[in-house]
């Protein structure tokens, strides 16, 4: 019995004639271990910047991964080499048992960016991410020398986000089998202090990660960035949220060419949460498909691709 390595390696990439891209799996280094990346390349001429997609935190990494994939494929389809990857502690990363934290995600993202330049073979670096992935992108942009930044409803206030994570556990219990016994945010905080860890819908949120999250204030902590930046708010209504406008203003104050757009959609509250719901009799579908499509289109339009890219996302 021998393993057919040739067969396996010959299937590590694919060509997509419809999108005019190739996708190939890569082994990357991050945080002292291997991790998995997927490089999407245009079949035609490449153009800069090359993009790195940074994923979100905790369970959100899974709930937003379909957007990350759609973004990467669409950018590549428009000519931009794009890389997505797993930070340690996620998915297929080499050290999946390690507890992930904001620090480990920033470390891994910077390390992967360091390997991307050679792979992309284009001028310029763009960083893109949704929710906490956007926060990671913004926090490393200055240090990584990025020229472009796209933040899809980024987490601006880490303390609000940390509180939201705790609340999400309470809500799940209120909707569960024993709502009368549902925990409270206060009890979860006590548990964090006593046990050093609290379960957020199956994700072990440790005290160090919680405290690191709470300390993040994107408006105050971003390193100088003077490239082009797009901030996209995802919401039900069209009113601009204070945090998003503060972030846009901060980027402008740093010398960035910054723009804020709002994507409205009835499913916006599910952005970053579970998003498969009944869409027909005995059929579950992705209720965020429309949001993802809109985010991809806005990004491409902002990059000047616009009509060229219509109908390609997917």
């Amino acid at each position: 019995m021998t393993v057919d390595v040739t067969l396996l390696e010959s299937h590590s990439s694919r060509l997509d004639d419809r999108l005019r891209i190739s996708e190939g799996f890569l082994r990357l280094r991050a945080g002292g271990a291997e991790t998995l990346g997927v490089l999407a390349l245009p079949l035609g001429e490449r153009r800069g910047p090359g993009w790195v997609v940074s994923h979100s935190f905790g369970s959100e990494q899974v709930d937003l991964h379909m957007l990350d994939v759609a973004v990467a494929r669409s950018l590549a389809s428009a000519g931009f080499p794009t890389l997505r990857f797993h930070s340690q502690g996620y998915g297929d990363s080499g050290d999946v048992w390690v507890p992930a934290s904001p620090t480990t995600q920033l470390r891994d993202t910077l390390e992967v960016i360091g390997q991307f330049t050679e792979l992309a073979e284009v001028e310029g670096l763009g960083l893109i991410g949704a929710r906490f992935g956007g926060t990671v992108a913004a926090l490393v942009a200055g240090r990584a020398g990025a020229s472009h930044l796209v933040l899809l409803h980024p987490i601006v206030s880490g303390s609000r986000y940390a509180a939201e994570l705790l609340r999400s556990r309470v809500i799940i219990e209120l909707l569960g089998e024993k709502p009368a016994e549902a925990t409270t945010v206060e009890r979860l905080k006590e548990e964090l202090a006593a046990r050093g860890m609290v379960n957020i819908k199956g994700w072990p949120l440790r005290t160090d990660a919680y405290e690191e999250l709470r300390a993040i204030d994107l408006v105050k902590e971003m390193d100088p960035f003077a490239g082009r930046a797009l901030v996209v708010q995802v919401s039900r209504g069209s009113s601009v949220q204070g945090a998003m406008s503060r972030l846009r203003d901060r980027l402008r104050a740093m010398g960035a060419e910054s723009e804020l757009q709002v994507v409205t959609h009835p499913s916006a509250p599910n952005f970053g949460y579970e998003h498969f719901r009944p869409v027909a009799r005995e059929l579950l579908g992705d209720i965020l498909e429309g949001v993802n499509q809109a985010l991809v289109e806005r990004t491409l339009q902002w990059l000047g691709i616009g009509e060229e890219a219509e109908g390609r996302a997917g």
Binding site: H11, F276, L284
Partner: protein
């Protein structure tokens, strides 16, 4: 251990998968298939990655795959118990069996993946065993009707009595589980099966009773149901449950697959594999 990420051609789609190969000749191959909530091949919390690596430590190869439209797979993500990815699973299984040279096959499926396992196992001649996580024979797609959803929420909020009403409701609907139970009955006669269930109102006592009734009537095949910790918590939102599931799946295949060959030339394992498959063929005929 080495992992090979691959795109497996299946019909018009390319299925994203990772083949995990142990350092020693593999004792068998296990396919891991998530359920229908948008989880990629690693499942939520890296659960399937952890199982795959645990299996590799016991010299068992694995392939963890995605549904079309999820993760790196192409296609549109749509979930229906009436359109399970049986063909995609068997295509990925055949690819991984060929790539790893394994002679014995098993499958782990969660929720919709468990139902797919029941349909896919009989189509793979090398299959000898399966692990069904949260098969929940009664589960269907939730109602879209606002009135139904509001009533459910209202009943759920009634302390104690709400739970009794819900248990009673699902017990009365148990006959609706028949199609899945028929498949379970049929597959348990040709494969070893381990069911990992949570103690939810939809499962109640009915499934354990049904499995108990099957035991002893399904030839020499192992059939077990183990209740996972975490009570009525959804899916794998209990960390204790995740750890239990990882341990149970790895230990199960370690027990039911042929042992590693002494001396490492593979012939002993191949002999055991041939015996297992022959036994399965006998029980089929």
């Amino acid at each position: 251990m080495k992992e090979y990420p691959v795109f497996v051609p299946s019909g018009d789609e390319r299925i994203g998968a990772v083949v995990c190969v142990p350092d020693a000749p593999p004792r068998g191959l296990v396919l891991l298939l998530p359920g229908g909530g948008g989880a990629p091949r690693s499942q939520r919390f890296g659960l399937f990655t952890k199982i795959a690596r645990g299996l590799a430590e016991r010299d068992i190869a694995s392939v963890r795959m995605e549904w079309p439209g999820i993760g790196d797979s192409t296609g549109r993500a749509r979930y229906s118990f009436k359109a399970l990815p049986v063909e995609h699973s068997t295509t990925v299984a055949r690819f991984a069996l060929r790539a790893t040279g394994a002679r014995v096959f098993g499958m782990v499926g969660n929720c919709g993946g468990a139902r797919t396992t029941l349909l896919a196992l009989p189509t793979v001649p090398e299959a000898t065993s399966g692990v069904l996580m949260m098969l929940k024979p009664l589960t269907g797609t939730r109602s879209r009707k606002q009135a139904v959803r509001k009533t459910k929420l209202f009943v759920r909020k009634i302390p104690r009595i709400g739970l009794v009403i819900r248990r009673g409701y699902w017990a009365l609907r148990w006959r609706k589980a028949n199609p899945v139970l028929d498949q379970l009955r049929s597959v348990s006669g040709v494969s070893d099966l381990l069911l990992l269930e949570a103690n939810t109102v939809k499962v109640g006592n009915q499934l354990p009773r049904f499995v108990e009734g099957l035991q002893g009537k399904n030839g020499r095949h192992r059939l077990e149901l183990r209740e996972m910790p975490g009570g009525g918590v959804r899916a794998f939102q209990s960390i204790e449950r995740q750890e239990f599931a990882i341990r149970a799946a790895v230990e199960w295949f370690d027990q039911v697959f042929p042992p590693s060959p002494a001396g490492g030339n593979g012939s002993a394992a191949e002999l055991s594999a041939a015996e297992l498959i022959a036994e399965r063929e006998r029980t089929r005929s």
